[in-house]
């Protein structure tokens, strides 16, 4: 009933959307892998990043892709302060405490945005939003092609930070053995906050990539958060290659299931995968521990 070109196009579009999903999930899985916390505020922080990109474009006329350069350090700082001064001290390290503190935080952020910007959806009008890149018989949307490229570059950059810098070494040390790391003089609270900051900074890039083709409202991030959790669980909690592959996979699943089931029911495919993975193999495809 569908021609192979349409299905293949949906597949490619799914892959490219999946790349941005992967970027969101990358931040989440990094935070989980090091801090062992489920960060419920991740979606709300994505919304913050998208609003910052929107503001940069609306008030200062910056292109959303250029705005990434400005918004990334801002999100980095926000992430650092949230973990260092709110989540860390409030939760006192208990698993349940962190879950609830980040849930509380996400509600505060989401509703501050609602109070500040009301519930209107905002978009950025660019002249390239609907531009098409022809690739053989396929027609691909330009923002998504850019999204795929930037996501891959960011993932490589993240890998380099973790494996080639001192802070990366410290992060890996704390993830492996918190007590040992603190005994050799690593400031664990600082490393935690740095990890959280890097994970949050990924959202700034994702926000910039999403804004040309997407809208933002105070609840936008909430729609992404379960998708991001699905990717993280599917790829294995804490696994960076897992988040990348999981992201691409989920993008494809969403594209294909919306093609066959329609947009509103299409999302159900993602949740069913999420539930199945949790029930059958909670360690995910690449995860080492449950």
């Amino acid at each position: 009933m569908y021609s192979p070109t349409i299905i293949f196009e949906a597949l490619m579009n799914g892959l490219m959307l999946g790349a941005v999903y992967a970027l969101i999930a990358l931040g989440l899985t990094l935070i989980y892998g090091v801090l062992h916390i489920v960060n419920f505020a991740h979606g709300a922080l994505l919304t913050v990043a998208m609003y910052l990109v929107w503001l940069a474009s609306d008030r200062f006329g910056l292109d959303p892709y250029v705005a990434i350069l400005v918004v990334t350090p801002m999100m980095f700082a926000i992430g650092y302060c949230l973990q260092r001064f709110i989540i860390g001290p409030a939760s006192r390290g208990s698993d349940n405490g962190i879950l609830l503190a980040t849930l509380g935080l996400s509600i505060v952020i989401q509703n501050l945005l609602l109070a500040g910007f009301n519930s209107d959806t905002r978009t950025i009008a660019t002249d390239y939003a609907f531009e098409i890149v022809p690739l053989g018989p396929l027609l691909l949307s330009l923002p998504r092609v850019i999204g795929l490229g930037v996501s891959v570059v960011t993932a490589v950059l993240l890998w380099a930070i973790l494996n080639r810098t001192d802070i990366g070494k410290a992060i890996r040390a704390v993830a492996k053995e918190k007590l040992g790391a603190s005994l050799v003089g690593i400031n664990v609270a600082h490393v935690y906050a740095m990890t959280f900051a890097i994970g949050t900074a990924c959202l700034a890039i994702a926000g910039g990539l999403l804004m040309p083709s997407f809208y933002v409202s105070p609840t936008t991030g909430a729609a992404f958060v379960l998708v991001a959790f699905t990717i993280v669980v599917l790829g294995g909690m804490g696994s960076i290659p897992g988040a990348l592959i999981g992201g691409l996979l989920i993008g494809v699943v969403e594209a294909i299931s919306s093609l066959f089931l329609g947009d509103s029911l299409g999302q159900i495919g993602i949740f069913l995968i999420f539930i199945l993975v949790l029930l059958v193999k909670p360690t995910g495809l690449f995860g080492a521990r449950a």
Partner: protein
């Protein structure tokens, strides 16, 4: 001794609210009290599993919504009596709880994983209810207006409040039974250390399933009563995350794993929400910002909620008195 005092104080509070309602309260206060009681009941359900069992669910909307939709569909599409619909709603809600519990606990999920999977189940139900004709789709469903006790609808809202007070008092009684029963002791034991409890011969899988079934039944009851009061339901109200969050908030802020916690939490939070709304001049979201801040403060400074915080102060004062 102390627990008895608390129980009697709570019943006295409910009694005073009931008498005040009969004597005559302004309509908006009456509506607020009705909503407080519905949320208190929802949170009492959450508290059985999340408070006593230590299994924090982020998806109690799955049970609330199932109760609400069952009552509505049985009444509107099949012309079945409201009270029978309510009983069916509770049974079906409990069944959904047992099923989710069976799947999740068999896979050994707890902590964040359990929170996430309950959230996902509620979302699946929300999407289904939003697209099926059977549940009215995105337009939602209305219960036709028929006043009278048999229809569980009252033109005079005071009667509805009294019925709700009765159910919340029933919830208190149930929690009191839970605290004294072997079942409750097993449940608390698995919260504190599930491996130790299992080693001592507690069938933790069975206890967890029983707990989630009971928990779901109470929350489903709240869902049924919600729809009998507002006479309208749609997927975002029934299965939306707001109700899961209200349930968890009220129980945790009031004091998770305590008899009074859910009632204290819902009265305080919704009361405070009304006050902030009246001060913020109609800006949406300000009341929820306050809720979120209170939740973080509770996690940081009062891990046992307001009930625990007050109890700590009380004992500290008492022990200081003894030392002197």
């Amino acid at each position: 001794m102390k627990k008895n005092f608390e129980f009697i104080a709570a019943l006295a509070f409910l009694g005073v609210v009931g008498i005040a309602a009969i004597a005559g309260l302004p309509g908006n206060i009456l509506n607020l009290l009705i909503f407080m009681m519905i949320i208190a009941l929802t949170a009492q359900g959450w508290n059985v599993l999340g408070g006593y069992g230590g299994l924090s669910s982020f998806g109690h909307a799955a049970f609330f919504g199932t109760g609400a939709y069952t009552t509505t569909i049985l009444q509107t599409s099949f012309g079945i009596n409201a009270w029978v619909g309510l009983v069916c709603g509770v049974i079906l809600g409990a069944a959904v709880g047992a099923l989710i519990g069976f799947l999740s606990f068999r896979a050994g999920l707890k902590g964040s994983y359990f929170a996430l999977i309950t959230l996902a189940f509620a979302e699946v139900l929300r999407i289904l209810a939003n697209s099926w004709d059977f549940t009215g789709g995105a337009a939602g469903m209305m219960v036709s207006i028929n006043n009278g006790f048999a229809y569980l609808q009252f033109s005079d809202r005071r009667w509805f409040l009294l019925i709700l007070i009765g159910f919340v008092a029933g919830g208190l009684l149930l929690t009191r039974w839970l605290e004294r029963s072997a079942f409750g002791a097993y449940l608390i034991a698995l919260r504190e250390n599930d491996q130790a409890a299992q080693a001592l011969g507690v069938d933790i899988f069975k206890i967890k399933i029983q707990a989630i079934t009971l928990s779901a039944a109470i929350t489903a009851l709240a869902g049924c009563l919600y729809v009998q009061n507002f006479l309208f339901i749609d997927a975002n109200v029934a299965y939306g995350s707001w109700i899961s969050i209200e349930a968890l908030f009220a129980a945790i802020v009031g004091g998770a794993g305590t008899m009074l916690g859910p009632l204290i939490g819902s009265v305080l939070l919704l009361g405070l929400g009304e006050i902030t709304k009246s001060f913020s001049g109609g800006i949406a979201g300000v009341d929820l910002v306050v809720f979120g801040i209170i939740l973080i403060l509770c996690v940081a400074f009062a891990p046992n909620g307001i009930r625990g915080f007050v109890a700590d102060l009380w004992y500290r004062r008492k022990s200081r008195g003894k030392a002197m």
